[in-house]
Symmetry: C2
Subunit: 888 residues, 2 copies
């Protein structure tokens, strides 16, 4: 057969690369013998050839003619024939569905003569002119690039003239008039007449599909979704069937299960005397699919059979578009249907129960992102809710609070304990304090990559952005909802960061059912709970990566364990120096001699020991990786600027305070230009004698206490910020000495491992040497990302990530999903070098990437032993670790 | 022959790995037929075997016996014989000379009986007992580890008892008594008798040499000098000859040229009736070597012949130790002699003139470090100078000023324009402001790796440390010179950071002769100037690496060119935003709209253009790499804390200043936690529209002006802080548009290249992608070091580098000499990946490492095209670039 074109009966569903998704599914259904209008697919290869040269590749036009001739022969009609015209549709269809591309042109083949032929042959003049004006409108807007409003405006005018509201109420005359008007619109906008020649219409539509691959919107979408630029799209050319042929005709969309809940049943919508796009456009109210049974039972029964056949064949929920033309059922499209997270889990489990798929398939069928959606709090669905407007769900969750129109107000009100929603036209770095203080953020402008969206996701704040119906008037301190009510600052609203909905008043929030079950605080039965449990059980059996949690407190440790964590991968100890213990750190810093320093450390020891004892108890029998203190000591002191102002004013008022002066002097002395690159981590351990020793002793004594209490502690001591093997060579013996001392004092053997973070680029580059003194590596991918890119998250994320995302510098923040090319290559280097030195080296990751699905897949490929993430992300990590194995 | 031992007549000078330096040279002289006392060398292999097991390797003892027997046969005497004993010396000799190792034991074979035999056979009882007490002392201190003072004290007592001051004035009786006393000292300190058995003495001495390889001092020295740990040392066993055999005997040291100046002539010292160590110890005043002619002309003539022979043979200055025993000349050691920088250059040039070596040898014979010494200012040698004390020359240069005893005083006095020397017991980070303010730093404690030394070298401040005779009394504000005068704070002193000398008063400083010649401000002739010029000319012919300078001003550019730079590798533009132009930057930052920002940029444009025009003029015909603005904009604003205090006080006093408030608000908004990792470099160029465009236009217009003026400008525009290819993909077209615009406006073709810094680890890791849009890479090794190690130089260098150097975490600061294992591996990766994409990619380095000798050798190996360094280091870079080729 031809080089550039495949007939629908030549392909199958595996050929998405060549035929695109739509074309492959049309071929598959043709192969199954389903009633698909005949047609052919111009391949993605033809598209690539076109885009490379800017014109149709040699032989393509001949092949198009040949295939059209075949269709004409099969149908016994000629394209655009004056008497009984064959009409065609042209639809794009890339491998991945992609917004921004030209979509559809219907009714190709109509012109001033053939429309009359169609009227005669169908005996339905209104249908013929309705079809003609549809062609003119679609061709005009999608092929010729005339904005849609130019046509819609004329339609509205005619409806107004005739005093009708629905398209179906326009008669043949009105449609004929519209066709004439649309031709004028085309002439006015392009200076050219609409091409009456059917072959010219067809070829223009095909070229338009090819060229739409490169629209800015499509290009941007591909960059966002990391779809390669060079795939190209296929073009599907298909014989028209008509749901708009009067009574006994219609179009509909159906799903083989409920895509909202996942429950079984017949779900769909049907619209009489309409084409498919009318259903989507919502020009009239559709009827439930079940009602079709009463109208056209034979077609309904046939459709149910097709649905059953397709679901069994695709072994998944199918989304089907169909048309009934004069009681004859046609299937126009099918694909595996999109679904809500609830539906995804329920369907996966149900299909396992039905024997359609196996348990591994169930794990493949759901994603960590879907599970995450099930773990966020939501608004109580049963509560009364008044929808104010809908924007873009930019950072998931549900939040209620009083409207605050600027950062200062938000901070102030939050300061006195109120829940606040920061509402802004858009945010900028100045709004940061308010964003931190608020429960949620709502903007009237900007999309998922706007400043508000990026920052909110980074902070885990609920955020709705781009709610364009809102007008924020900061001067008058009000928010107008366009065409609706006006709210004053201080009024209560609620935002849903998943759906993008904005509600009036304080909508009650319900905790996630799944979380309550994991927590053991819910006992209601629900098929969703069973489905999630089933998938996670299977995931645990499949995955190779261990999953631990980052947890600094006994409560977090307990929760992490309930969520399925097998140990703690990162227990930060600096949190244990806050609160009332700051005073001890101040003493440590201000100590004027060794004795003073040692006394302060001695007072810290029992407090730290108690912290560790409880955590080890919660994680009994499982490893607990304790990171020795990491931040610079001056971070425990007061803010320099605030203290300087206070001291200056005290002095000015003759109220000189000696202790404040001493503190200010220390703050000045310890001040660092770049604390992230300062005296912290292992450097602090080397520079401040006794600090690491005290912490190690607290860990070892806590472990000894646990052993004596009959427990099974498994502490791992982790040295932060190591950049060179010699640092570890210095510090390790110091800790080993403590181990030996405590073991001797207590007469016990304490199982403890000593390892290091790999979070400085140089540590990764010299991991062979570092592995000589490390029992384990834990990749601190947050710091590693900061140093590898040379930017500090705090400083740059809000300041220029939105700009960078807009410009496509990166598709996703490297703090959200690991930068495989840069940071990832360092991880791979460290894994290779570390294992060269020490084949049994245990490798994990404790940065936030440990809970990110794409990053987890990378860590699986990189051969790590475990990931560690926040307790709430543990179930997600369990699932994605398994999916990484199954989807390879 | 044997496995572990080589006789002197079996080896040669090439065998330093096996025989050590001393052994190889003894073998070489034996091979030349010079009068070397016979002996043998126990190889480094034997040492390594000993150290691996802790005992002599199998066969070694047999071989020792065999070789001793051969010596006995050759000399016709037996080791330690009762009548006419053969005596031996044992000396260590590693491949590289190394302090801290056991050095020498002489007169092995003497005991209570053989000493009598020696007295009889030599007819000189005093000589015999002098030799015996020497053996006891050396064996006791170096083999048995008894401190030297134990013996020296007894010697002093005997001299005092006898009322004499010189050893030679002690008679045979006194020497015999001393031998007895020394035996008691040994018994007291070790609980054991001195081993009378000659073979036991010999073997103990050999083992002691082996074991001294691992003394802490030797280990530390090797780490400092990067000498491998596993080389081991050889042991030289040699028949004793005696310069202490009375009249007609003596010992001396001589050089084949003056090691101080490099001039030709006979240089050396001779001491009658003494052993070599007496010459070194300075127990009596030596006589000039020339005086030997009058005492023993045959030996003198023979020695001159040996000197000529050795210099011709080694083709270099030789340092020779000799002994005359009863008018018979013996050569005990030779080696290529150490020399001053002046001597190194003069000798290299002279030997080329003499046809002894070729010009490439001359380049190999001198080092960049030596040349650097010739480029620093020095004290006027002709001026009267009163030496107060001598410490360690820790950071070269010469500085005079008034003594300031704390940082505050130093800062205050320097603030009113005075020259200050900060004098402290030792420094810590609190002293930093004073160190910055002072001309020089002097401490009484600490070595070359002390805080003062490290920080001073980092800042280029002259520093003398560890001047232990000084007692700094901060309470009384005075400095006592132990056993000397007392100086008050405010008194004038002068310090020489090269020699470590401290002088009283204001010693005049003279500029370097070489610098004055390079600058063209000196016209006196000097063979040193000729020698340096000769070496640099040859270096320029030999080297592959280009040498450019880092220069931001026309003056620096002009100087760099005079010093031999072929272009500018780094012209920083941020310096052009300082001074009165700060006001424009403030306007830019505070601009409330696009118009305000554009107006501020428009006002900056002509100023920048003028900056570039002058620099391009100075470097006409040579490339000038201009880095677009790099630091965060807020660095041009006032200090936050100071401004906050000012505003608080103004407000408190009812003097509220609106502009100050606005500025404080902006400072707060732009404040960054870690500015080094903040909104700077290319991020700024993307975030602040028009900024890079303005700078590019200034460069292009300046180049156009130069072309119109008949010049040949070669600007290169460099984008800082690129971390990912997409940044360059965004910015490059913006700059190319400016190039096209200016070319069109001026009707000229402007040769310009556009490239990027590689200073962020990720840029190196993804250099293949980055090279797609870069004509050149310039490695910014300062930032690359900071990010690869995760430390900021400002914050950590003073705070913990001294500790790290002390602990051997690194042997040298990675900011001084490039860290080959970490940062170097990123450079190599970037070179490889960059050239894969773009084989013609031009590669340079513009970090401070560009002027560091060891780093230059690395850059040669890495295949860069050029190095760029500060103007003063350009001659050093020219030399070392050539040496990197020759010594590769």
């Amino acid at each position: 057969m031809g080089q550039w074109i495949k007939d629908f009966d030549e392909g199958d569903m595996t050929q998405k690369d060549l035929l695109g998704g739509k074309g492959a599914n049309l071929a598959e259904m043709t192969r199954l013998g389903l009633p698909v209008p005949p047609g052919f697919t111009i391949t993605t290869e033809a598209c690539r050839a076109y885009l490379a040269t800017g014109s149709a590749p040699e032989g393509l036009l001949d092949e198009v003619d040949e295939h059209v001739a075949r269709l004409e022969q099969a149908m016994g009609r000629r394209l655009g024939d004056d008497e009984d015209p064959l009409l065609l549709s042209v639809r794009s269809g890339a491998k991945f569905s992609m917004p921004g591309m030209m979509d559809t042109v219907l009714d190709i083949g109509l012109n001033d003569r053939s429309v009359e032929g169609l009227a005669r042959s169908s005996g339905n003049e209104r249908f013929a002119y309705d079809s003609y004006r549809r062609l003119l409108q679609m061709f005009g807007s999608t092929v010729l690039g005339i904005e849609d409003e130019a046509f819609a405006g004329e339609l509205d005018k005619v409806k107004a003239d005739r005093g009708v509201t629905a398209d179906v109420d326009l008669d043949a005359d009105a449609m004929r008039g519209l066709a004439t008007t649309y031709k004028s619109v085309i002439r006015e906008h392009t200076g050219q007449d609409f091409p009456l020649e059917p072959r010219a219409q067809l070829l223009a539509a095909v070229n338009a599909v090819f060229e739409s691959w490169n629209t800015p919107r499509a290009t941007f979408y591909r960059r966002q979704e990391r779809i390669p630029e060079d795939l190209g799209t296929a073009v599907n050319v298909q014989v028209m069937v008509f749901g708009n042929r009067g009574e006994g005709s219609g179009s509909g969309v159906c799903f083989t299960r409920d895509p909202g809940s996942g429950h079984q049943g017949v779900y769909g919508d049907y619209l009489e005397n309409a084409q498919g796009e009318d259903v989507v456009a919502g020009i009239r109210n559709t009827m439930p699919l079940a009602d079709l049974e009463g109208i056209d039972k034979p077609s309904y029964d046939e459709l149910l059979a097709v649905m059953a056949r397709l679901e069994a064949h695709y072994r998944d929920l199918c989304d089907i578009e169909f048309t009934i033309e004069a009681t004859k059922l046609w299937i126009l499209q099918t694909r595996v249907g999109k679904r809500t997270p609830e539906a995804a889990f329920r369907i996966a489990k149900a299909m396992v129960d039905e024997g359609v798929i196996d348990a591994d398939d169930a794990v493949r069928r759901v994603t960590g992102a879907q599970l995450a959606r099930l773990l966020f709090p939501r608004f109580d669905q049963s509560a009364d809710r008044v929808l104010l407007s809908t924007g873009i769900g930019a950072s998931p969750g549900a939040a209620s609070g009083r409207i605050a129109l600027d950062s200062t107000t938000a901070t102030e009100w939050a300061g006195r304990g109120e829940r606040v929603i920061l509402v802004r036209k858009e945010t900028n770095p100045d709004d940061l304090p308010g964003m931190v203080a608020a429960r949620g953020i709502l903007t009237s402008r900007g999309g998922k990559t706007s400043h508000a969206a990026v920052v909110a996701r980074g902070m885990g704040r609920t955020c709705v952005c781009g709610a364009e119906e809102l007008e924020v008037d900061v001067e008058k301190r009000v928010v107008h909802v366009r065409g609706g009510r006006t709210l004053a600052e201080g009024d209560q609203i609620s935002i849903d960061g998943t759906s993008g909905e904005v509600f009036l008043g304080d909508v009650p929030v319900t905790e996630s059912l799944i979380v309550r079950h994991l927590e053991g605080t819910a006992d209601e039965e629900d098929s969703l709970v069973d489905a999630v449990a089933f998938v996670l059980d299977r995931a645990d059996a499949v995955r190779r990566l261990g999953v631990r949690a980052n947890a600094d407190t006994p409560d977090d440790a307990a929760r992490a364990r309930r969520f399925g964590a097998h140990g703690i991968g990162l227990c930060r100890t600096e949190h244990m120096f806050l609160g009332p213990r700051r005073e001890l750190v101040e003493r440590l810093i201000l100590a004027e001699d060794d004795a003073g320093r040692e006394a302060a450390l001695a007072d810290l020891l029992p407090l730290q020991r108690a912290d560790f004892t409880e955590i080890l108890e919660q994680m009994d029998g499982l490893p607990v990786t304790i990171r020795l203190i990491d931040p610079p000591l001056h971070e425990f002191l007061p803010d320099q600027t605030a203290l300087a102002v206070r001291v200056a004013l005290e002095d000015d008022h003759g109220q000189r305070d000696r202790q404040h002066h001493r503190l200010l002097e220390a703050v000045g002395r310890l001040h660092e230009q770049n604390p992230m690159l300062g005296l912290r981590g292992v450097r602090l351990g080397i520079a401040v004698p006794g600090l690491f020793t005290m912490q190690a002793r607290a860990v070892l004594e806590a472990a000894a206490d646990r052993i004596e209490a009959g427990g099974d502690p498994r502490p791992e001591i982790m040295i932060p910020l190591v950049a060179t093997a010699e640092e570890l060579t210095l510090v390790r013996p110091e800790i080993e000495a403590v181990v030996a001392d405590v073991q001797a004092e207590r007469g016990l053997t304490i199982p403890v491992r000593i390892g290091t973070m790999i979070e400085v680029p140089r540590a990764a580059l010299t991991a062979d040497r570092i592995a000589e003194d490390a029992d384990f590596f834990s990749f601190g991918t947050n710091d590693l990302t900061q140093m590898t890119w040379g930017f500090s998250r705090d400083d740059v994320e809000a300041a220029f990530f939105p700009t960078y995302l807009d410009h496509g510098v990166f598709a996703v923040s490297p703090f959200e999903s690991i930068d495989v090319a840069g940071v990832g290559s360092l991880v791979e280097t460290a894994v290779r070098l570390g294992r060269e030195t020490r084949p049994e080296l245990h490798l994990g990751v404790c940065g936030e990437h440990g809970g990110d699905p794409e990053s987890i897949h990378f860590f699986e490929r990189a051969g790590l032993d475990y990931v560690s993430c926040s307790p709430f992300r543990v179930p997600i990590a369990r699932l994605e670790a398994a999916r990484a194995v199954l989807t390879g």
